[in-house]
Amino acid sequence: MSEQAEGTRAAQPGSPIRSAVVIGGNRIPFARSGGAYAYSSNKDMLTAAIDGLVARFGLQGERVGQVAAGAVLKHSRDFNLTREAVLGSALAPDTPVYDLQQACATGLETVVGLANKIKLGQIESGIAGGVDSASDAPIAVSEGLRRVLLDLSRAKTTRQKLVAISRLRPADLAPDAPNTAEPRTGLSMGEHQAITTARWNISRTSQDELALASHHNLAAAYERDFFSDLITPHRGLTRDANLRADTSLEKLGSLKPVFGKNLTAEPTMTAGNSTPLTDGASTVLLGSEEYARSHNLPMLANVVDAEAAAVDFVHGAEGLLMAPVYAMPRLLQRNNLTFADFDFFEIHEAFAGTVLSALAAWEDEDFCRSQLGLDGALGSVDRNRLNVNGSSLAAGHPFAATGGRIVASLAKTLAEKGSGRGLISVCAAGGQGVVAILEAR
């Protein structure tokens, strides 16, 4: 059925907007950087994730309303990454597409954007997604060499060419590799989080316990076949390569701290309670209720609402990864909800310290009054409802792919329960963050 034929229910001015539903998802297992996908490009992985979604839901040759996806580490040649992936996939080639970039919130933001279009009646169906490869990262030439090369291309006479080349210095030949340092502070994400972790006095043990729970929850989810309709194997990898089902507090406790070693506080952040560099891709199929019904597709959960925030980490007013803490009360207030109204919490584990700092901040009366403008503490998150099927510490974190992983898993978890709400929180580089609400149908 064509998109046009179904697109008859555009919201009229003043009419209530309609629901956007999560139909399902598909991702490839996440690999550690330099592992199974060492030679896969973002385009390869995103195409594979889309093709798996197409196979699961029988979308071969279909023109989906719109596909939105993105990557954080992106080659300049991949300016049309998602479009190229769709053209290489089993979807109809006349499927429109846009690329999006919002650091680690990219994946969640594509879900929010497409869900909004569905709610407004602009599209009937959409595929949201994200992909990242830390293995196949772009390497740029130095700024000096780049200027010389550009001047050289503009030079008309031999003399002008020689002048341009003469400006080249040996140091200019060193390539410019990407890193996770913030451009405005020069600090890596881990070092930024170490400041926040110390600020909230998050203990080493509590961080290791969170990491342990993530591994155990993810392993248990695999054990009960939870992922059989969420993941399609890729390049021989059938499970998230970072998962350590047999890890223990002793093993995690034996790791040496890697971040915050220059701070006065005792360093607590290790490779075990921080996410590793990861390769992977994820997708989420969204649609209107009419679309899902007319295609006999499941409806797992509604995308209810979302809120973005940003913080001034440059001048030290707030921690780099604390923006979701600020977005959360705005989202809850707008929807007249409190933490007690949620059955599941998906707080992206960039670092164990990120999750625990956010939880501590929401429980801190002074902070909530002074920084969030609330009357008191926002509240406590029931730890038994937190990341119940594992999160990024166990699964890994291919930046833009994390949002899709979380949305699809949470939607399925809500569908299994058959009722309730789920809350998502994703922090992002640049002091940004996005939080969102899903609701069971």
């Binding site: 093709d51 699961r56 040759g61 194997p233 059938t238 499941p298």
Partner: protein
């Protein structure tokens, strides 16, 4: 795995050498191609009774060039020996000898098909002898034919007419390229149930089919052939095979269901999937199977149990729930993969042969349960088929296994798939509890 010997002897010089040395001379088989003629030449219908006239009328209805006697030196596409009314062995000679005279005139890929009646339907020893004699003659003719020609039979049950739906369906199947690797076999038509397709080229139009073990090999080919014949497919395989399964699904417009069929919830997952996505299930192909070969003396518990669990116990469990389910169509078809190993036994395959013989037992019993209704269950027993699995057999053993059949070659996955697709059609509704071999008339288990 390509059969390089077959390719070699079909080149002129090597073919001459092979002929001079008395080596096997396999030829490329006549397989189904969309748009190709049903039969490569005129059809000779032998036999004197009303049955022969009826068969001739059916063939004329298919716009075939029908002969009651062969013209000299004419290439014949098929010979149908209609022997449904023989009452004494003496009555066979005229038809058999005329058939013999036509054999040298057969075209490449020709078909010989007998039509006879079941021995079970008579209390007259002479009539039973005559009916059974047909089997022996046809199996021998199958061994004598060359040039990729085959000989098979249709056995009519008690009171089943020659123009009954499934007899006509079986006749068309055996004459067509779909039966290329079926040789020396008999298809029993036991009831007048079934329905011929509205569009001959799309006999499965509108059908919903589940194929297990569909990620590769024969399973992937089954999905492809069912799709070609018009069915909407659900492909199932273990989550670990999901990447290949995805490719098969996207090539056949199917939905992929990653599922370990040995899990206790497997039947319910399949039922839920087809109900939610497609509304109903018309065809279930139990193709998933594994081998864990060991001599029984060296067999461990895991190897034995895994093979029984996947190849047999899973089918039993899924059938039990499916046959109770309203999601499974009233005219639903189950087709199971057995194996010639399950018929003949095979060294090093006690577990596998047990599972495949068990499938045959299950099919025969379930067919009795279904008898009287419109659902059917049948099995297909492949012989040596060119797959990734048989490619791992050592060279010498593999070459011998290939030449053991009357067609002197291994079959292709598509040959198995074609037979399954036929048994899944409504035209096969009068065929129930059969184990149809797709083996080129292999000596194994013959």
């Amino acid at each position: 795995m390509s059969d390089s010997y077959l390719q070699l002897v079909n080149s002129v010089p090597a073919g001459r050498v092979a002929k001079a040395l008395g080596l096997p001379l396999p030829v490329p088989l006549r397989r189904y191609q969309s748009g190709a003629p049903l039969i490569p030449g005129p059809v000779l219908v032998l036999g004197n009774g009303a049955g022969a006239d009826t068969v001739a009328e059916v063939l004329l209805g298919w716009n075939q060039d029908v002969r009651r006697h062969a013209q000299p030196k004419e290439r014949i596409g098929a010979v149908i020996a209609v022997l449904d009314s023989v009452t004494h062995p003496d009555a066979l000679s005229a038809v058999m000898l005329e058939l013999g005279q036509s054999i040298r005139q057969l075209a490449r890929g020709a078909r010989v098909v007998s039509v006879s009646r079941t021995v079970a339907g008579t209390v007259d020893p002479a009539e039973a002898a005559a009916r059974r004699a047909v089997d022996g003659a046809v199996r021998s003719i199958a061994r004598e034919l060359r040039g990729g020609a085959t000989a098979n039979g249709i056995v009519l049950g008690d009171g089943v007419g020659i123009d009954t739906t499934s007899a006509v369906g079986a006749l068309r199947f055996l004459l067509s390229g779909r039966s290329a690797f079926v040789n020396g076999q008999f298809i029993s038509v036991t009831s007048d149930r079934g329905e011929l397709p509205a569009v001959v080229a799309k006999p499965l139009a509108g059908k919903i089919a589940v194929v297990t073990g569909a990620a590769r090999g024969i399973g992937a080919e089954i999905a492809s052939v069912l799709r070609r014949d018009g069915a909407q497919i659900v492909v199932v395989d273990v989550p670990a095979a999901g990447e290949q399964l995805m490719k098969v699904a996207n090539q056949t417009g199917a939905t992929a269901l990653q599922l370990d069929i040995t899990r206790p919830e497997a039947a319910q997952r399949i039922i839920d999937h087809v109900r939610d996505r497609h509304g109903q299930l018309d065809i279930l192909v139990h193709n998933a199977g594994i081998t864990r070969d060991k001599l029984l003396a060296n067999m461990d518990e895991a190897k034995w149990n895994q093979v029984i669990a996947v190849n047999l116990a899973a089918q039993l469990a899924i059938n039990a729930e499916l046959l109770e389910s309203t999601v499974f169509s009233d005219i639903g078809k189950i087709v199971c993969l057995a194996s010639t190993s399950g018929i003949a036994g095979n060294r090093g395959q006690s577990n596998y042969a047990a599972s495949k013989a068990g499938v045959i037992g299950m099919v025969e019993c379930t067919a009795r349960v279904l008898d009287g209704g419109n659902r059917t269950i049948n099995a297909v027993a492949p012989g040596f088929i060119e797959t990734e699995m048989t490619a791992r057999i050592p060279f010498g053993t593999r070459e011998v296994a290939r030449r053991l059949s009357s067609l002197q070659q291994g079959g292709l996955p598509v040959d198995v798939a074609e037979t399954i697709a036929f048994l899944a059609t409504d035209a096969a509704g009068g065929i129930n509890g059969q184990v149809l071999r797709v083996c080129g008339q292999s000596l194994v288990g013959a």
